[in-house]
């Protein structure tokens, strides 16, 4: 078990180092002068030189990289080129929005996708299964932002023109101020994020459960006289959980992509929106910071998924 964890940790570290090298060299070879962005278009050469010195841009490349990595490991991601604020502060300030979105989204999609898959698999070929299949196909095909815009139009704008407010047009309300308002503001973003990803889980649950229910040990379980409910949930789902957990690990990157888009559609000022603004402003330290944070998030969740996997399936240990 310890060897297994050590292996996964090493790989996670390897991913992070590769990612840091990628972003760092990407920006090092990048066209465009960061000093120009900081100092402004009309700054004289002497001032540009001063800025380069201050930012350490005149140092040799490996030295810059080492400095960047050692600082990043201590939680210091440098300063924004635009407003000189520490990148870490800028990101941390926006984390509650993104975490709220991710947390609710994951909860929504698991509680939507898995049951639909189970219902589909328990009634193969019936109208319930057909409906489930339609849901899966639509969910897989719907681009997140199209769904979000349609949701805003039908659930915010149409009711508002009719004279009442069903959902807010977007924005964020802090959880600690008013939990109800928080949930009300995030309901549409959660649902949008969940609907699109839930389809993957519904399909996976359906496929796996159908296969598992055909196994011999399920017949044995039924022969023992167990109730159908017990057979499906205790014996069937137990074997279906492992591929579901694996999928969860693979989908973290998809989830982060979805978060960026959803924040854009619903005007949520989260970390994703910060990254999009940074790209438009050519604010490289912020982009590097957000990419590294995203990588860290994926590596950590994958580690948790691996541990869960090992707990569920003793063979991998």
């Amino acid at each position: 078990m310890i060897v297994f964890i050590a292996k996964r940790l090493t790989f996670g570290l390897f991913v992070l180092i590769t990612l840091s090298l990628f972003v760092f060299f990407l920006f090092f070879v990048a066209p465009g002068d960061p000093a120009r962005v900081v100092a402004g278009d009309k700054a004289p050469e002497a001032q540009l030189q001063q800025v380069r010195e201050n930012l350490g841009l005149d140092r040799p490349m490996p030295e810059q990289y080492l400095r960047f990595v050692t600082r990043a490991a201590q939680g210091d991601l440098g300063f924004s080129y635009r407003n000189r604020q520490p990148v870490t502060d800028l990101i941390v300030r926006r984390i509650p929005v993104t975490v709220s979105l991710v947390f609710g989204g994951v909860l929504f999609w698991l509680s939507l996708g898995v049951p639909i898959g189970i219902i589909s698999a328990r009634n193969p070929g019936t109208w319930k299964d057909r409906l489930g299949q339609v849901f899966i196909l639509l969910g897989l095909s719907f681009p997140t932002f199209v769904l979000g815009m349609l949701a805003l139009y039908t659930l915010y704008f149409l009711p508002r023109t009719a004279g009442f407010t069903l959902f807010p047009p977007g924005g964020y309300a802090p959880l600690l101020d008013n939990p109800l308002k928080w949930a009300w503001h995030l309901a549409l973003p959660w649902a949008t994020l969940a609907l699109v990803v839930a389809a993957i889980y519904a399909r996976l649950t359906r496929g796996q459960l159908l296969q598992v229910l055909g196994e011999d040990y399920i017949r044995t379980a039924r022969a023992k006289g167990l109730t159908e409910r017990r057979v499906v949930y205790r014996h069937g789902m137990r074997a279906t959980l492992t591929p579901l957990v694996t999928q969860l690990g693979a989908d973290i990157a998809v989830l982060l992509g979805g978060v960026i888009v959803i924040e854009q559609v619903y005007g949520l000022q989260g970390v994703g929106a910060l990254a999009v603004q940074a790209v438009q402003n050519q604010d490289r330290p912020i982009i590097i910071g957000v990419v590294m944070l995203g990588g860290l998030f994926i590596v950590t969740t994958n580690l948790i998924v691996d541990l869960l996997y090992a707990a569920l399936d003793p063979r991998v240990r």
Binding site: F145, G214, R222, L256, V291
Partner: protein, 333 residues
Amino acid sequence: MGQFQSRNEEMTNEIEEDDGTEDRGPVVVQRSSAALTFRRLARDPASVIAFLFIVALFAFAIGAPLVETWTGHGVITQYRETALSPVGLPVGPNSEFLLGGDQLGRDVLVRIAYGARVSLLVGVMASLIAATIGVTVGMLAGYFGGWVDFVLGRFMDLVMSVPFLLAALALVSVFGPSLPLSVSVIVFFSWTTIGRVIRAETTSLSRREFVQASRSLGAGHGYILLRDILPNLALTIIIYTTMLIPNAIVFEATLSYLGMGIVPPTPSWGGMLAEAGANSIYLVAWWLVLFPGLALLAATLAFNILGDGLRDALDPSARGRAVFRKKKKSEEG
């Protein structure tokens, strides 16, 4: 009972197909397997409709200049007099602008037609390149195993642990948005799906007797990979490439939506939706979201249905068997 009926239908299908191959006399087995697959596919109405829709979509994209001539509206020409209301808002669908005008007074229909070009070009091209890379890497990893498999496998894991949209944003911020960059980004982050499948299949294929026979006859690695294993992967490759296309289309649209893909004023569906979303203008001009959104949804849906249909047609037993077994069980119980 529904399951039994469909099962029986499937069985009669097999018999008919056997008759068909008999009529044509001796046929190479690999060809007939593909022929069987496409025959089964042709019997699935959803797949046929999806396929016809895709053909029509290609025709629509290729014929975009014809749409331009027919409506008499240029793709980036702004019709401020006719497509904008006196207060400057876009006009809805009418006899002159069938799908309405956009916020700059351009014809939405013409722009959707040209947008289809971008979506299909990027979708198909990125999928083909991704499939080529995925198949090559997957075959090498699966066939040679050992350290080759280890290195390539870790590399695939690495690509899958990268936050792809963030990495795409980083790349765009450095190199500026462009069509080739969009395609490269999509390729880089989508070849792993097909790579994993091909790797698994190659591993099991390379242990089969016919590969051993080939090797004992003195065939080299290249010959075995290209002549013995690759043909056996053909259908898997077709299916997974088809399934890559809708994802690539959505990926491109997402990049354009975030302003990181196709550069305006070149029309793309994602870009049109982004313009509709800016200042929430779509709330007063629903056609700006509905038509490009529908085009995007219909395109991805059609490719997804076709991919599903192809998969089921390749291996009808995978679906039928599980259903059949389950049915048997519940009858026993």
